[in-house]
Point group: C2
Chain length 211, copies 2
Amino acid sequence: MKIAILLYDRFTALDAVGPYEVLGRLPEADLTFVGEEKRPYRTDTGRLAITADATLTETPEADILLIPGGPGQSDLMEDGPVHDWIRAIDTTSTWTTTVCTGSLILAATGLLKDRKAVTHWLAMGQLGKYGAVATEERVVFDGKYVTAAGVSAGIDMGLTLAARIAGDQFAEGLQLAIEYDPQPPFDSGSPAKAAPEVVDFLRGRSRHVLK
Amino acid sequence: MKIAILLYDRFTALDAVGPYEVLGRLPEADLTFVGEEKRPYRTDTGRLAITADATLTETPEADILLIPGGPGQSDLMEDGPVHDWIRAIDTTSTWTTTVCTGSLILAATGLLKDRKAVTHWLAMGQLGKYGAVATEERVVFDGKYVTAAGVSAGIDMGLTLAARIAGDQFAEGLQLAIEYDPQPPFDSGSPAKAAPEVVDFLRGRSRHVLK
Protein backbone atom coordinates (compact mmCIF):
# COMPACT_ATOMS: atom_id res chain seq x y z
CA MET A 1 0.00 0.00 0.00
CA LYS A 2 1.61 3.20 -1.21
CA ILE A 3 1.24 6.17 1.14
CA ALA A 4 2.41 9.64 0.06
CA ILE A 5 2.73 12.51 2.54
CA LEU A 6 3.20 15.95 0.98
CA LEU A 7 5.86 18.25 2.44
CA TYR A 8 6.16 21.97 1.85
CA ASP A 9 7.94 24.86 3.58
CA ARG A 10 6.36 25.95 6.89
CA PHE A 11 4.16 22.88 7.34
CA THR A 12 3.24 21.85 10.90
CA ALA A 13 5.22 18.78 11.93
CA LEU A 14 2.64 16.95 14.04
CA ASP A 15 0.05 17.21 11.23
CA ALA A 16 2.25 14.90 9.18
CA VAL A 17 3.94 12.85 11.90
CA GLY A 18 0.78 11.86 13.81
CA PRO A 19 -0.79 10.00 10.84
CA TYR A 20 2.67 8.80 9.70
CA GLU A 21 3.21 7.05 13.02
CA VAL A 22 -0.04 5.11 12.59
CA LEU A 23 -0.45 4.61 8.83
CA GLY A 24 3.24 3.81 8.31
CA ARG A 25 2.73 0.70 10.47
CA LEU A 26 -0.12 -0.75 8.39
CA PRO A 27 0.62 -4.12 6.76
CA GLU A 28 2.79 -3.66 3.66
CA ALA A 29 2.82 0.11 4.04
CA ASP A 30 5.20 1.76 1.58
CA LEU A 31 5.26 5.32 2.92
CA THR A 32 7.13 8.20 1.30
CA PHE A 33 7.48 11.86 2.17
CA VAL A 34 7.30 13.81 -1.08
CA GLY A 35 7.92 17.41 -2.09
CA GLU A 36 8.37 19.56 -5.16
CA GLU A 37 12.10 19.06 -4.60
CA LYS A 38 14.05 16.23 -2.97
CA ARG A 39 15.33 18.12 0.07
CA PRO A 40 14.61 18.79 3.73
CA TYR A 41 11.49 20.91 4.30
CA ARG A 42 11.43 23.12 7.37
CA THR A 43 8.39 23.43 9.59
CA ASP A 44 6.54 26.56 10.72
CA THR A 45 8.85 27.00 13.73
CA GLY A 46 11.94 26.74 11.52
CA ARG A 47 13.49 24.34 14.03
CA LEU A 48 12.62 20.97 12.47
CA ALA A 49 13.34 19.70 8.96
CA ILE A 50 11.90 16.52 7.44
CA THR A 51 13.42 15.18 4.23
CA ALA A 52 11.34 14.69 1.09
CA ASP A 53 12.71 11.41 -0.27
CA ALA A 54 10.91 11.71 -3.62
CA THR A 55 9.72 14.48 -5.90
CA LEU A 56 6.12 14.89 -7.00
CA THR A 57 7.11 13.68 -10.47
CA GLU A 58 8.63 10.54 -8.99
CA THR A 59 5.35 9.85 -7.17
CA PRO A 60 2.62 9.42 -9.77
CA GLU A 61 0.26 7.33 -7.63
CA ALA A 62 -0.67 6.47 -4.06
CA ASP A 63 -3.29 4.43 -2.26
CA ILE A 64 -3.32 7.05 0.49
CA LEU A 65 -2.47 10.70 -0.03
CA LEU A 66 -1.99 12.87 3.07
CA ILE A 67 -1.75 16.67 2.97
CA PRO A 68 -0.68 18.24 6.27
CA GLY A 69 -1.49 21.80 7.28
CA GLY A 70 0.54 24.68 8.60
CA PRO A 71 1.15 28.36 7.88
CA GLY A 72 2.88 27.46 4.57
CA GLN A 73 -0.52 26.34 3.33
CA SER A 74 -1.09 29.95 2.29
CA ASP A 75 1.64 29.55 -0.39
CA LEU A 76 -0.21 26.63 -1.97
CA MET A 77 -3.65 28.09 -2.59
CA GLU A 78 -3.05 29.04 -6.22
CA ASP A 79 -3.31 26.55 -9.06
CA GLY A 80 0.06 25.17 -10.12
CA PRO A 81 2.28 22.07 -10.02
CA VAL A 82 1.22 21.02 -6.51
CA HIS A 83 -2.47 21.28 -7.37
CA ASP A 84 -1.88 19.39 -10.62
CA TRP A 85 -0.12 16.65 -8.68
CA ILE A 86 -2.86 16.44 -6.04
CA ARG A 87 -5.56 16.16 -8.70
CA ALA A 88 -3.56 13.52 -10.62
CA ILE A 89 -2.73 11.39 -7.60
CA ASP A 90 -6.32 11.66 -6.42
CA THR A 91 -7.38 9.75 -9.54
CA THR A 92 -5.24 6.84 -8.26
CA SER A 93 -5.97 7.00 -4.52
CA THR A 94 -8.28 4.94 -2.38
CA TRP A 95 -8.16 7.60 0.33
CA THR A 96 -7.33 11.28 -0.04
CA THR A 97 -6.72 12.77 3.40
CA THR A 98 -5.76 16.00 5.10
CA VAL A 99 -4.95 17.28 8.58
CA CYS A 100 -5.56 20.81 9.84
CA THR A 101 -5.32 23.48 7.12
CA GLY A 102 -4.22 20.83 4.64
CA SER A 103 -7.92 20.66 3.82
CA LEU A 104 -7.76 24.24 2.53
CA ILE A 105 -5.15 23.21 -0.03
CA LEU A 106 -7.26 20.23 -1.05
CA ALA A 107 -10.36 22.42 -1.23
CA ALA A 108 -8.49 24.92 -3.42
CA THR A 109 -7.82 22.18 -5.97
CA GLY A 110 -11.58 21.80 -6.34
CA LEU A 111 -11.68 18.25 -5.00
CA LEU A 112 -13.74 19.09 -1.90
CA LYS A 113 -16.51 20.86 -3.78
CA ASP A 114 -19.83 20.17 -2.03
CA ARG A 115 -18.07 17.70 0.27
CA LYS A 116 -18.12 17.78 4.06
CA ALA A 117 -14.75 18.71 5.52
CA VAL A 118 -13.05 20.06 8.63
CA THR A 119 -9.90 22.08 9.28
CA HIS A 120 -8.19 23.85 12.20
CA TRP A 121 -10.88 25.59 14.27
CA LEU A 122 -9.34 28.99 13.50
CA ALA A 123 -9.72 28.37 9.75
CA MET A 124 -13.22 26.85 9.60
CA GLY A 125 -14.59 30.00 7.99
CA GLN A 126 -12.38 29.52 4.95
CA LEU A 127 -13.60 26.11 3.80
CA GLY A 128 -16.80 27.54 2.35
CA LYS A 129 -14.84 29.91 0.09
CA TYR A 130 -13.61 26.86 -1.80
CA GLY A 131 -16.96 25.11 -2.01
CA ALA A 132 -16.49 22.65 0.86
CA VAL A 133 -19.14 22.14 3.52
CA ALA A 134 -17.57 23.02 6.88
CA THR A 135 -18.40 20.25 9.36
CA GLU A 136 -17.47 20.56 13.03
CA GLU A 137 -16.26 17.06 13.80
CA ARG A 138 -12.79 15.86 14.70
CA VAL A 139 -12.54 13.47 11.75
CA VAL A 140 -14.83 13.86 8.74
CA PHE A 141 -15.39 11.15 6.12
CA ASP A 142 -17.08 12.04 2.83
CA GLY A 143 -16.59 9.16 0.44
CA LYS A 144 -12.87 8.67 0.03
CA TYR A 145 -12.07 12.16 1.32
CA VAL A 146 -11.06 12.21 4.97
CA THR A 147 -10.25 15.46 6.73
CA ALA A 148 -9.10 15.94 10.31
CA ALA A 149 -9.32 18.98 12.57
CA GLY A 150 -6.24 20.83 13.88
CA VAL A 151 -2.76 19.31 14.26
CA SER A 152 -3.21 16.50 16.82
CA ALA A 153 -6.47 15.32 15.18
CA GLY A 154 -4.34 13.52 12.61
CA ILE A 155 -3.64 10.79 15.16
CA ASP A 156 -7.37 10.10 15.57
CA MET A 157 -7.79 10.24 11.79
CA GLY A 158 -4.92 7.80 11.28
CA LEU A 159 -6.39 5.28 13.70
CA THR A 160 -9.89 5.60 12.27
CA LEU A 161 -8.57 5.08 8.75
CA ALA A 162 -6.35 2.19 9.89
CA ALA A 163 -9.45 0.43 11.21
CA ARG A 164 -11.23 0.82 7.87
CA ILE A 165 -8.20 -0.58 6.05
CA ALA A 166 -6.90 -3.31 8.35
CA GLY A 167 -9.80 -3.95 10.75
CA ASP A 168 -10.59 -2.85 14.27
CA GLN A 169 -8.28 -5.30 16.01
CA PHE A 170 -5.25 -4.22 14.02
CA ALA A 171 -6.04 -0.56 14.66
CA GLU A 172 -6.45 -1.27 18.37
CA GLY A 173 -2.99 -2.82 18.26
CA LEU A 174 -1.58 0.32 16.64
CA GLN A 175 -3.20 2.46 19.33
CA LEU A 176 -1.62 0.27 22.01
CA ALA A 177 1.75 0.29 20.22
CA ILE A 178 1.88 4.10 20.38
CA GLU A 179 0.34 3.94 23.87
CA TYR A 180 -2.34 6.41 22.84
CA ASP A 181 -4.24 6.65 26.11
CA PRO A 182 -4.46 10.44 26.12
CA GLN A 183 -4.44 12.23 29.45
CA PRO A 184 -4.15 15.93 28.62
CA PRO A 185 -3.55 18.03 31.73
CA PHE A 186 -6.32 20.45 30.76
CA ASP A 187 -9.66 20.22 28.97
CA SER A 188 -8.92 23.06 26.59
CA GLY A 189 -8.46 21.25 23.28
CA SER A 190 -11.39 22.82 21.45
CA PRO A 191 -12.79 26.36 21.38
CA ALA A 192 -16.02 25.06 22.96
CA LYS A 193 -14.11 23.70 25.96
CA ALA A 194 -11.29 26.23 26.48
CA ALA A 195 -11.68 29.34 28.62
CA PRO A 196 -12.92 32.34 26.59
CA GLU A 197 -9.75 34.32 27.33
CA VAL A 198 -7.62 31.48 25.98
CA VAL A 199 -9.73 31.32 22.81
CA ASP A 200 -9.51 35.10 22.40
CA PHE A 201 -5.74 35.07 22.90
CA LEU A 202 -5.29 32.58 20.06
CA ARG A 203 -7.76 34.40 17.82
CA GLY A 204 -5.68 37.54 18.31
CA ARG A 205 -2.41 35.83 17.51
CA SER A 206 -3.84 34.00 14.53
CA ARG A 207 -4.37 37.21 12.57
CA HIS A 208 -0.68 37.04 11.73
CA VAL A 209 -0.95 33.48 10.47
CA LEU A 210 -4.41 32.79 9.11
CA LYS A 211 -6.09 35.31 6.89
CA MET B 1 15.06 29.00 26.78
CA LYS B 2 17.32 26.49 25.09
CA ILE B 3 15.68 23.15 24.27
CA ALA B 4 17.75 20.27 22.90
CA ILE B 5 16.14 17.16 21.40
CA LEU B 6 18.49 14.23 20.82
CA LEU B 7 18.29 12.36 17.52
CA TYR B 8 19.76 8.94 16.78
CA ASP B 9 19.19 6.30 14.12
CA ARG B 10 15.93 4.34 14.48
CA PHE B 11 14.26 6.72 16.93
CA THR B 12 10.46 6.91 16.93
CA ALA B 13 9.29 10.12 15.29
CA LEU B 14 6.26 10.95 17.42
CA ASP B 15 8.32 10.59 20.63
CA ALA B 16 10.28 13.65 19.52
CA VAL B 17 7.69 15.54 17.50
CA GLY B 18 4.89 15.46 20.09
CA PRO B 19 6.88 17.40 22.73
CA TYR B 20 8.55 19.51 20.01
CA GLU B 21 5.16 20.75 18.84
CA VAL B 22 4.34 21.97 22.36
CA LEU B 23 7.67 22.98 23.91
CA GLY B 24 8.88 24.66 20.72
CA ARG B 25 6.04 27.17 21.10
CA LEU B 26 6.98 28.27 24.62
CA PRO B 27 7.93 31.95 24.95
CA GLU B 28 11.49 32.51 23.72
CA ALA B 29 11.98 28.83 22.95
CA ASP B 30 15.27 28.19 21.16
CA LEU B 31 14.80 24.56 20.12
CA THR B 32 17.45 22.49 18.34
CA PHE B 33 17.51 18.90 17.13
CA VAL B 34 20.98 17.53 17.90
CA GLY B 35 22.89 14.39 17.00
CA GLU B 36 26.37 12.93 17.11
CA GLU B 37 26.64 14.15 13.52
CA LYS B 38 24.98 17.03 11.71
CA ARG B 39 22.86 15.00 9.30
CA PRO B 40 19.36 13.58 8.81
CA TYR B 41 18.52 10.76 11.21
CA ARG B 42 16.10 8.11 10.01
CA THR B 43 13.32 6.74 12.20
CA ASP B 44 12.50 3.12 13.08
CA THR B 45 10.34 2.72 9.95
CA GLY B 46 13.14 4.02 7.72
CA ARG B 47 10.62 6.26 5.96
CA LEU B 48 11.12 9.57 7.79
CA ALA B 49 14.32 11.54 8.34
CA ILE B 50 14.69 14.52 10.66
CA THR B 51 17.80 16.69 10.39
CA ALA B 52 20.12 17.22 13.33
CA ASP B 53 21.02 20.91 12.99
CA ALA B 54 23.79 20.78 15.59
CA THR B 55 26.26 18.24 16.91
CA LEU B 56 26.51 17.23 20.54
CA THR B 57 29.75 19.20 20.81
CA GLU B 58 28.04 22.31 19.48
CA THR B 59 25.35 21.93 22.15
CA PRO B 60 27.03 22.18 25.55
CA GLU B 61 23.97 23.30 27.50
CA ALA B 62 20.18 23.32 27.51
CA ASP B 63 17.38 24.40 29.79
CA ILE B 64 15.35 21.41 28.61
CA LEU B 65 16.87 18.17 27.34
CA LEU B 66 14.55 15.68 25.64
CA ILE B 67 15.54 12.11 24.79
CA PRO B 68 13.04 10.27 22.58
CA GLY B 69 12.69 6.50 22.46
CA GLY B 70 12.58 3.96 19.68
CA PRO B 71 14.23 0.69 18.68
CA GLY B 72 17.58 2.49 18.16
CA GLN B 73 17.66 3.04 21.91
CA SER B 74 19.31 -0.38 22.15
CA ASP B 75 22.42 1.04 20.42
CA LEU B 76 22.80 3.72 23.10
CA MET B 77 22.85 1.66 26.27
CA GLU B 78 26.65 1.49 26.60
CA ASP B 79 28.70 4.29 28.08
CA GLY B 80 30.22 6.54 25.42
CA PRO B 81 29.99 9.99 23.81
CA VAL B 82 26.18 10.18 24.00
CA HIS B 83 26.14 9.23 27.69
CA ASP B 84 28.93 11.74 28.38
CA TRP B 85 26.91 14.43 26.61
CA ILE B 86 23.70 13.59 28.47
CA ARG B 87 25.49 13.70 31.84
CA ALA B 88 27.20 16.99 30.93
CA ILE B 89 24.09 18.73 29.64
CA ASP B 90 22.15 17.48 32.65
CA THR B 91 24.41 19.59 34.86
CA THR B 92 23.09 22.65 32.97
CA SER B 93 19.41 21.69 32.55
CA THR B 94 16.36 22.82 34.47
CA TRP B 95 14.42 19.83 33.13
CA THR B 96 15.80 16.54 31.82
CA THR B 97 13.05 14.67 30.03
CA THR B 98 12.40 11.49 28.08
CA VAL B 99 9.60 9.86 26.10
CA CYS B 100 9.04 6.12 25.72
CA THR B 101 12.27 4.07 25.82
CA GLY B 102 14.30 7.27 25.95
CA SER B 103 14.11 6.75 29.71
CA LEU B 104 16.16 3.56 29.33
CA ILE B 105 18.98 5.57 27.77
CA LEU B 106 18.76 8.14 30.56
CA ALA B 107 18.65 5.37 33.16
CA ALA B 108 21.74 3.76 31.61
CA THR B 109 23.70 6.97 32.16
CA GLY B 110 23.04 6.55 35.88
CA LEU B 111 20.96 9.72 36.19
CA LEU B 112 17.71 7.94 37.08
CA LYS B 113 19.19 5.95 39.96
CA ASP B 114 16.56 5.59 42.69
CA ARG B 115 14.28 7.96 40.79
CA LYS B 116 10.71 7.22 39.73
CA ALA B 117 10.36 6.82 35.98
CA VAL B 118 8.16 5.39 33.26
CA THR B 119 8.79 4.02 29.76
CA HIS B 120 6.84 2.22 27.01
CA TRP B 121 4.61 -0.41 28.66
CA LEU B 122 6.49 -3.19 26.87
CA ALA B 123 9.80 -2.04 28.40
CA MET B 124 8.74 -1.33 31.99
CA GLY B 125 10.61 -4.41 33.21
CA GLN B 126 13.92 -2.95 32.08
CA LEU B 127 13.94 0.26 34.13
CA GLY B 128 14.82 -1.59 37.34
CA LYS B 129 17.98 -3.04 35.78
CA TYR B 130 19.38 0.49 35.66
CA GLY B 131 18.34 1.45 39.17
CA ALA B 132 15.22 3.44 38.30
CA VAL B 133 11.93 2.89 40.12
CA ALA B 134 9.35 1.83 37.52
CA THR B 135 6.20 3.89 38.04
CA GLU B 136 3.03 3.18 36.06
CA GLU B 137 1.84 6.69 35.28
CA ARG B 138 1.58 8.46 31.96
CA VAL B 139 3.89 11.31 32.97
CA VAL B 140 6.23 10.93 35.93
CA PHE B 141 7.96 13.84 37.66
CA ASP B 142 10.84 13.15 40.06
CA GLY B 143 12.58 16.44 40.75
CA LYS B 144 13.79 17.81 37.46
CA TYR B 145 13.54 14.42 35.75
CA VAL B 146 10.37 13.99 33.74
CA THR B 147 9.63 10.75 31.93
CA ALA B 148 6.64 9.93 29.74
CA ALA B 149 5.13 6.57 28.78
CA GLY B 150 5.08 5.28 25.19
CA VAL B 151 5.26 7.44 22.06
CA SER B 152 2.09 9.61 22.22
CA ALA B 153 2.56 10.29 25.95
CA GLY B 154 5.11 12.93 24.99
CA ILE B 155 2.28 15.28 24.06
CA ASP B 156 0.81 15.04 27.57
CA MET B 157 4.30 15.45 29.01
CA GLY B 158 4.95 18.51 26.88
CA LEU B 159 1.75 20.21 27.99
CA THR B 160 2.30 19.34 31.65
CA LEU B 161 5.83 20.74 31.51
CA ALA B 162 4.66 23.82 29.58
CA ALA B 163 2.26 24.60 32.41
CA ARG B 164 5.07 24.38 35.00
CA ILE B 165 7.22 26.71 32.89
CA ALA B 166 4.75 29.24 31.48
CA GLY B 167 1.64 28.80 33.62
CA ASP B 168 -1.64 26.97 33.16
CA GLN B 169 -3.24 29.55 30.89
CA PHE B 170 -0.37 29.53 28.41
CA ALA B 171 -0.36 25.72 28.37
CA GLU B 172 -4.11 25.70 27.80
CA GLY B 173 -3.51 27.97 24.83
CA LEU B 174 -0.92 25.55 23.46
CA GLN B 175 -3.39 22.69 23.85
CA LEU B 176 -6.00 24.68 21.95
CA ALA B 177 -3.48 25.71 19.29
CA ILE B 178 -2.76 22.06 18.49
CA GLU B 179 -6.47 21.27 18.95
CA TYR B 180 -5.62 18.49 21.37
CA ASP B 181 -9.11 17.28 22.17
CA PRO B 182 -8.34 13.59 21.74
CA GLN B 183 -11.08 11.32 20.47
CA PRO B 184 -9.40 7.98 19.80
CA PRO B 185 -11.72 5.56 17.98
CA PHE B 186 -10.96 2.78 20.49
CA ASP B 187 -10.14 2.55 24.17
CA SER B 188 -7.07 0.39 23.68
CA GLY B 189 -4.26 2.78 24.51
CA SER B 190 -2.89 0.94 27.54
CA PRO B 191 -2.38 -2.75 28.28
CA ALA B 192 -4.96 -2.51 31.09
CA LYS B 193 -7.61 -1.28 28.65
CA ALA B 194 -6.85 -3.15 25.42
CA ALA B 195 -8.29 -6.59 24.66
CA PRO B 196 -6.01 -9.41 25.90
CA GLU B 197 -5.48 -10.73 22.37
CA VAL B 198 -4.30 -7.29 21.24
CA VAL B 199 -1.87 -7.09 24.16
CA ASP B 200 -0.60 -10.62 23.44
CA PHE B 201 -0.14 -9.82 19.75
CA LEU B 202 2.10 -6.86 20.57
CA ARG B 203 4.01 -8.77 23.24
CA GLY B 204 4.76 -11.41 20.61
CA ARG B 205 5.94 -8.90 18.05
CA SER B 206 7.99 -6.95 20.56
CA ARG B 207 10.41 -9.84 21.08
CA HIS B 208 12.09 -8.70 17.89
CA VAL B 209 12.43 -5.15 19.09
CA LEU B 210 12.71 -5.01 22.84
CA LYS B 211 14.96 -7.49 24.64
